[in-house]
């Protein structure tokens, strides 16, 4: 069995899911909102990219920047108009979650109406995707040259930001204990806005890449949401490295895993979503902290320490 193609697919999808999940991980850890409207940040970014490229003739890079700002703005609006007022009124996280489903529905159907009126319910960003190289039977395309670097750079930037800048550390502090953060003089509402802009923006870029890699409908984000949550939950909902690992694992499970299962056990590829679902359930049952709870570096250090 040649695994080059499913492996490549796994990495591509894993990267895209990671990129989509980073924003969710970020907003969840800071605000504790399981934001279902996160799906719409993906979709909006996708549409902005597709329209700018297809209708206005912009390049993919400029369009992705625009997608960043569009989704950032939407994320900011969600928070300012719904989440923040609700939080201030002391809403429980469950209410916030339900509210996020509501926002998601509203945004999704506004997109639906817009897409319907313009005949773009199914749209594909006309990025020029060509094969640049080949590994085994798998093709490496120009799209991969976008997806992999963007994902890796995003994770590195986020890591640097969260561990080496004052704002990032304050965000982590806020995620740990909001009251204590305030007591330390951290202006939490300003930080919250910064957080939503970055989380929304990255998600928008992910949506833009998705619209070029695959195809976009107003439901695209919603359809991917299960994987996004699975990746984020695998990462323990708080860690970026965990999210990367989560995204790649989801990608592998849904492609390589199912290919192997199909090859040897004749499992229908249609069972793919089940994989994500099982992962969510299993993680919650046995390891609620996700991969973040597994101290890999500590483990390696201990092993190395012993070896020396």
């Amino acid at each position: 069995m040649d695994i080059s193609v499913p492996l490549m697919n796994s990495l591509t999808l894993g990267s895209l899911y990671t990129l989509m999940a980073l924003g969710l991980t970020m907003s969840f850890s800071v605000t504790k909102i399981a934001n279902f409207a996160h799906a719409e940040l993906v979709t909006l970014g996708g549409y902005v990219t597709a329209l700018l490229v297809n209708w206005m003739g912009f390049g993919l890079a400029e369009s992705l920047v625009a997608a960043f700002f569009a989704s950032a703005l939407l994320a900011l609006a969600m928070d300012e108009l719904v989440f923040k007022p609700l939080t201030r009124r002391g809403s429980r996280t469950l209410y916030l979650l339900v509210a996020s489903i509501g926002i998601g529905l509203i945004v999704r159907y506004i997109l639906y109406i817009y897409a319907d009126l313009n005949g773009i319910i199914t749209i594909q960003t006309k990025a020029d995707i060509q094969i640049v190289s080949q590994v085994g039977r798998a093709a490496i395309t120009t799209m991969h040259l976008w997806i992999f670097p963007v994902t890796i750079i995003s994770v590195i930037l986020l890591h640097v930001m969260f561990h080496y800048t004052k704002v990032g550390k304050a965000l982590r502090a806020m995620a740990d204990n909001e009251d204590l953060a305030r007591v330390s003089g951290i202006r939490i509402y300003r930080l919250r806005r910064i957080m939503w802009v970055i989380a929304g923006g990255i998600t928008g870029v992910a949506g833009g890449l998705w619209s070029a890699y695959s195809v976009l409908t107003p439901e695209a984000g919603w359809q991917a949401l299960l994987r996004i949550f699975a990746a984020s939950i695998l990462g323990g909902l708080v860690s970026f490295w965990g999210t990367i690992a989560g995204g790649i694992i989801i990608g592998l499970a849904e492609n390589l895993g199912i290919s192997i299962a199909n090859e040897f056990f004749y499992v229908n590829t249609a069972y793919r979503p089940l994989v994500s679902f099982i992962i969510i359930v299993v993680v919650f049952l046995f390891k609620p902290t996700g991969l973040a709870g597994i101290d890999v570096i500590g483990w390696i250090k201990r092993k190395m320490g012993k070896g020396e």
Partner: protein
Amino acid sequence: MDTKVWGVLLIVVFLLGIGIGYMAKPSAPAAATGGVKTVTVTTTITKTGAAGTAPPKPAEQKEYVIGLAIAVTGGYAVDGPRRRNGAILAIEQINKMLEEAGSPVRLKYIHEDTKTSAEGAIAALEKLNSAGVKMVVGPLATSECKAVLDFLKTNKITAISPSSTGTAAMVKGDFCFRAPSPDKYQGPALANIIWQQGIKKLVILARNDDYGKGLADLVEENFKKLGGQVEKIIYDHTQPDLSADVERASNAVNKFGADAETGVLIIAFDDDGIKILEAARLDPTLSKVRWFGPDSMKRATFLPPKSKEDIALFLQKVHFMATTPAVGSKDNPLVKEFIEEYTKKFGESPEASTYTFYAYDAAWIAGLTVLVAHKYDGVAFQKILPVIAKHFYGVTGWKLLDEYGDAAVPIYDIVAPRKLPDGTWNFVPIGKYDGTTKAVTLFEQP
């Protein structure tokens, strides 16, 4: 809070959210309500275009309602509105004819969105039924038709689907007629066409619904009968990504040998179709063999400006050809008139979707049936409709129905994507398949 509790909650809400999302799709506003209405018109009816005015005496005007159970959201979000428009045009033309004849009878339509789902179709039919509707144009998909078969029978509602062709809704004596030739004819047609192209080994990629699976089975059965080998891959079309399924197809082609004797048949709708083609065009193996498709692959979605030119170029590279229930030639004055009037009214040519033609014919047949019956009774409609159809020649040709109530004259156009001299892409007819003789005639090579 305890993370485990959260997890369970999250899963529950996930399911709930999916449910809500499903039900909350926007439905197009219903055009009107009420079944049969007797309206006393006291005002003067002015005749358009005529010099004189109609006699000012009050007329007892009778209105018959035709329900349009046509999806405009979900999988048919793009094509559904076109088909609905086709049906609306037919009803308006009938009314114009009646008005000009001075007849006191008028038709009126009520539209309900079936949302491209079995549940949506039942809900739409329930709404129409409670409004007293006994004649319906729709639903579109085979899965929807199948879902409402019992409902139609119990409530004595006659329906004529403009586009269901799947075997799942092929039932004798039911209340659901179908204007296009069903897959019972398309399956063998595809098998024969593909076989006659020299393909001996076929990989079928089909979406996981009644249409996809039904047609895939039919092609498989007929292709094997001809002596060919078949590898069938049914994919879940609701998935965001289908690269694993494309990979399976690629493997299967590899196993058969990527040569002139191997072909791929793709049975997809809009977005799943694009996902597959986008992945397939980048797969070196799949680009080496010939590709085929049924009617659902002859959609504007697969060509620029809706999708990338690369996809169209790929289709051309793999000498893609698709079958589509034959629409009368454009030289036919009936077809010409329809295209003109439709374009004038809706600002888009009906040629964007073949089934717009069928919706138009279906609505004409439905309208004529109601008028001939002269009583608003679903049982009468069910008896009369096949006779009307037998004597009906519309833009999609002769509508003789078989014992299952489905169009019985299986003639298919064979189309291929072409870049026209003006730079636009379109599917153009390159041949014909006559189901009665199993003869494939190609006027040009794919």
